[in-house]
Each structure stands twice: as structure tokens, then as C-alpha cells.
Symmetry: C2
Subunit: 354 residues, 2 copies
């Protein structure tokens, strides 16, 4: 089992704040009893909620903060007003100081990223972090990044995403040479953005510690064609939300189909176990949690509208990341990756598309 | 019923050429008996296939061409070798001359777009066409554009897409003021690409003949939040293929769930009618066909890998577009839209993101 994991919880983040974060932590603790929690936020709100979860309370302490970062605050504004005193910042500080192994927050994404960069700093040779999502596939899972940390990416940043995603795949999926694809609008080499084409050329280098697949398209995400799909944050975020929307849409079709006739209702009755399993598999709450990659510390972002079950998935992810020793392995992997790549200056200094 | 519709069929396009296009046309003819076809391509291949479909043969003529545009040809190369003599070009020419009302092709998208621009020309005040998709939503359908004609778009091009998409919605959905949303990675005004933000400002102008909704996200596509979703072609294409992939993935989950136990199999037996209806609803072949908007003529692009059922949907779409008098109404709508907009020069002359 190894050493216990300490999670720094930004209890004030998300649409519901502590009333979701605390029961979410309690759910995750059942699955991982070797977790300790430090809850950052308004003690007046947190303490009564903890009292309802004695097992969690026994593994928790509260650090009171007066300031919570607003969900609609601009990153610069959040940094100005929240640095050194908001629940979000203090949770990040706990990871920086070594008091905690991972931060979990359902707060404002832009503010969390800005504070995380400022407080934890990026890894050597990484100029900006990316957000990675664990994407369910037909048979398994893949990693998709960036799903929204940045809008636009130059070739060098896409290549770095490939390195970070591969390191994460190595840690999570235990594959030595993860397969990596670049998201594009066609598998032909003549199509797509210039940045994507140049990243494609760079990733073809034969001695990289990845198995480079080439271009992939939107339908390869769910197929699980590769372990890691690299894209810039605008299209990655749109792909993520489109997939979530499509899953909900099909669930609505299925519900309508199963209630349209008596025969269908009888069928649905017999198949209710199967439908429950399917619902469980398609439940987006089980895939909640974006991983901030490229920082000197583990930061997990829960969906702001997540409920306790969803928030618990994000806490689980923080626990798994901490257990896998992710930061250390990514840092070493990136070094190896960039060494093998010997990035040409031309690739490093290209302009971002925004 | 009105005047019959003549479809110019590029019989050589797509992975399978005439062996898909001809049976596809035959299927569509059953649904729309007032269709006439001109088949452009290799007569040696087309004639025996037509002989198998007597009803289609009675409403068809063949124009023999020696040249077919390769599926992997670059647009410039296709134009050089195929102009004036390929099946694709000759089909477009038939629309230009008035001999046909719409072109349907499963050929190379880039080549078809380049030839269509060259042969048919764009509408006044439209500098480049877009590809629109009819997107199934929970309760109905919406229009999404651009899904891959161009990579990147400046604010003026996004605004023009809004105008063209609204005109299409008016023609297809019979709404006077279609609701229009701009695809972005958050509904907050601080997020996203600069081009998208500037298009957002322009579309807020109160007297436009649309109901402007503001930003929408990927999950709004399937929800049917708006009648028209505007995006640039790279992210639009990725959204489209991600949705297709997610639908296939969930269908695989459903099949697996329904075969996992005897109870589930019994349930599936009773519900087989419902499953058939669901399968029919989710069948991507029914949504096959991209509409090239902004040209002086109707051009429908079928998926290159479509089978006869899919190709028939693309022919249906060409038929519907021709019946609705689309080109004329879009041209008038765009004029009205741009008049109301009085595009500021600053908006027109922004740089594309690529």
C-alpha cells in the first residue's frame, strides 16, 4: 500500500463549495482508506459537514481561509485578490511545502491554472502546463491533452504535450512506449494547421520513447486508436464537450426508445441489470477530473458543476496520481524525451496560433 | 410538387465510385420520384449498373468522362488535371449551365471545393464557402458550419457563416429568425480565440435577421440549444468526427451490455423493435451529406466511404436543397444580413488564424 496520501482540498471551489467537496471526499475515502485530507476554506461551513462524516473527520484537518476565488473571476484578478489567502492558493501552497501530495479543486479553471503556475512553477523545459483528460474508449481508456488550459499551440508546445501525455500514459497504463497520435482533420499529410504538420514532422524522429502513430481524427478518440491524443486546447475542449453532449443525447434516445411500446418496456424490465451497468459505464461523473500536467506538483481540476460522486472521482484521480509518483516520473520522462528530440530552435520559436 | 429536380451525379467519386453512387441514386429516386439524374463518369462502368435499376435508368442519362479525380489528389493538382474533363468538373458545369439543379459527389473534399469555387463562383460578398452539416439533436436538428472547408477563420468569415447558416435554417426549418450560437470553450465572455470574441461583438448588433444566442459549447450541439452553430473548420470537423465516434462507441457498449447475461438477452429480444428504431435513429448514414454554402449553385458532398444508403441520403439532401430554392434565398438573405451588419472595415480585414 505504501505511504498514505494527503489531499489538499479547495473546499470552496465549484458551484456548490463544501456541500459537494466534503461528501465527495468522504466517498473517495471509503475507496482509499489511506488518505488524509486538509480542507481549505470557511471553517464555519466545513466543520458541520465534517461532523456528518465521522470517518472523514478522523482523517481530516481544516485550515480556515476567509477568501474564496469567484467562479467567474479573471485569472489576473484571482491572483491579485486570492494570492496567499484564498482556499485555492493555500491548497496549492500545501503541495508546494510538502504538507500535501495533491490538490483537488472544483474552482475556476483559469484562476487555478494561473495560481498553480505561480505557486508550484512549471517543470524544467516546460513553458506552459496542459490539462489532460482520461477519455473512455470502447475497450479501455486513453489520455487526451490539452483539453482547455490554453487556446492555440505552436509545434514545440504540441511536441511537449506528446512528451507529457506519454509520461502520464506510462505511469497510468504501465506501457513502456505509449502510442501517440496528433489530432487533425484528416489522416492525409496535406491537411490541417501548419503547427500540427510541423509537430508531426518532429514526432517522427525514430529514437523518441514513444510509438508515434501519426495523425488521428475525432472518431479515433473513442475508438482508442492510440494511448495519447495530442491537440491544442480549443479543439480539445470542444471535442471533450461534444463527446459528453453526444453521450447524453444517445442516453435520451435510449430512454425514449425503451418507453415507446409495451414490448420495449417488458424488454427494459428484463434488461434492467444490463441498463444499470451501461448507465454506470456511461456516467460522465466517473471520468470527472482534469489533470494539470507540466507543474511541479499534482493538481486535479474537478468539473465546477460536479456532484459528490463526480467530485469523489476527481479525488480518486489525485490519489492515483500521488501513488504513482507522477511528478517525479514525468519530470524524468520529459528530460529523456527532450534529450532524444533535441528540439531544433526553429521548432521552439514558432508563433502560437493566437 | 413543383418542377422536377435534376441531380448531376459525380459517379466516379468516393471509395467505391459508381457501384455505390448508382444504387444510392436508385434508393433516393424511390423517395423522390420526380428526380432526373445525369451521371458523369465512365460509361462502361455506369451503364451495366443502371441496367440493374430500370426505374432509375428511365430517369437518367449518362455523360461519359475519361478522367476521375483521385481521392488523395491535392486540390491544385485536381484542378490542373481534371478541369473541363473530369466527372467532378463536368457535374459542376451542368449546374452552372442550368442543365442540373444540384451536384452530388462523394469525391475528394478539397478538390470538390476548389473546383466548385472555380466553376460556380462564390455568392456576392462571400469570399469563401463553408461546409454545413445537419446535426441531429435530442428533439430535432441543427445546422453546424464550417465542418471542414477551411482551417481557421477571421471574425468577418465567422459572421458570414452565421449569415449563411441562418439562411439555410430559414430554408430548411422554416423559422423566420433562426437562433445562432458561436462555438467557444466557455460561455463566459473572457474566454476563447480573439476572432471568436470579435465575431461575438459583431453578431450582437440588434437589427440582424437572426436571434443571436451568444457562445455555445460542444455539448450544446446535441442538445439543440440553437438552430445554427458557427465555428471555424478545424474545430468543427473535430467536433463532427468526435460525435460520430462517440455514437459508435456507445453502440458498442450497448451491444456488449445486452449480451452479458441471459436476462439481458431476454430483454433485448422483447425490445428488439425499440432497438431497431434506435439503431435507425443513430445510423450516421441518415445524416450523410455536407452542404457547400456560399456558392452560386448547390453542391452536396457525401462521405467518401458511404455505402448506397448513405449516398442516397446525400442525394436526398441535394433534392431538398433544390426544392427549397436555396441558392436564391441564401443570396438574398446574405445581402439583407450584410446590409444590417454594415461590416466595419476593421472586422473585414482581420488576419485568419492560420
Amino acid at each position: 500500500m505504501g505511504a498514505p496520501v494527503t489531499i489538499a482540498l479547495d473546499a470552496m471551489g465549484g458551484d456548490q463549495g463544501p456541500s459537494v467537496a466534503i461528501p465527495g471526499a468522504a466517498l473517495s475515502l471509503v475507496r482509499h482508506p489511506d488518505t488524509a485530507f486538509i480542507h481549505f476554506g470557511d471553517e464555519q461551513l466545513i466543520a458541520p459537514l465534517l461532523a456528518e462524516h465521522p470517518a472523514l473527520a478522523a482523517n481530516s484537518r481544516i485550515v480556515h481561509t476567509d477568501v474564496a476565488v469567484a467562479m467567474d473571476a479573471k485569472p489576473s484578478q484571482a491572483l491579485r485578490s486570492g494570492r496567499g489567502r484564498s482556499s485555492m492558493w493555500m491548497a496549492l501552497e500545501a503541495v508546494k511545502s510538502g504538507a500535501a501530495d495533491a490538490v483537488v479543486s472544483a474552482g475556476n479553471t483559469g484562476a487555478l491554472m494561473a495560481m498553480a503556475k505561480f505557486c508550484l512553477q512549471t517543470l524544467p523545459n516546460i513553458d506552459r502546463p496542459a490539462i489532460a483528460a482520461i477519455w473512455p474508449t470502447i475497450d479501455s481508456e486513453c489520455i487526451v491533452l490539452d483539453v482547455g488550459a490554453n487556446v492555440g499551440a505552436d509545434a514545440g508546445q504540441l511536441v511537449n504535450c506528446a512528451g507529457m501525455g506519454a509520461a502520464l500514459a506510462r505511469a497510468l497504463f504501465h506501457v513502456d512506449k505509449p502510442s501517440v497520435g496528433l489530432l487533425n482533420i484528416g489522416v492525409e499529410e496535406i491537411k490541417g494547421l501548419d503547427e500540427v504538420k510541423r509537430a508531426n514532422e518532429a514526432l517522427k524522429k525514430p529514437d523518441l520513447p514513444i510509438s508515434y502513430h501519426g495523425f488521428v481524427e475525432g472518431d479515433d478518440l473513442g475508438k482508442g486508436t492510440v494511448d495519447v491524443v495530442v491537440c491544442e486546447g480549443f479543439s480539445g475542449n470542444i471535442a471533450l464537450k461534444t463527446a459528453e453532449g453526444t453521450a447524453k443525447q444517445i442516453a435520451a434516445y435510449l430512454r425514449a426508445a425503451m418507453s415507446r411500446s409495451l414490448m420495449a418496456q417488458i424488454g427494459a424490465f428484463f434488461a434492467q441489470g444490463a441498463f444499470r451497468a451501461l448507465k454506470e459505464k456511461m456516467d460522465p461523473r466517473h471520468a470527472n477530473g482534469g489533470i494539470f500536467l507540466g507543474l511541479q506538483g499534482i493538481v486535479i481540476k474537478s468539473h465546477g458543476g460536479a456532484d459528490a460522486i463526480g467530485f469523489a472521482s476527481a479525488v480518486d484521480l489525485g490519489y492515483d496520481m500521488a501513488k504513482s509518483g507522477l511528478v517525479h516520473s514525468i519530470s524524468k520522462d520529459i528530460e529523456r524525451f527532450q534529450g532524444a528530440l533535441q528540439l531544433a530552435p526553429a521548432l521552439k520559436n514558432t508563433d502560437a496560433i493566437t
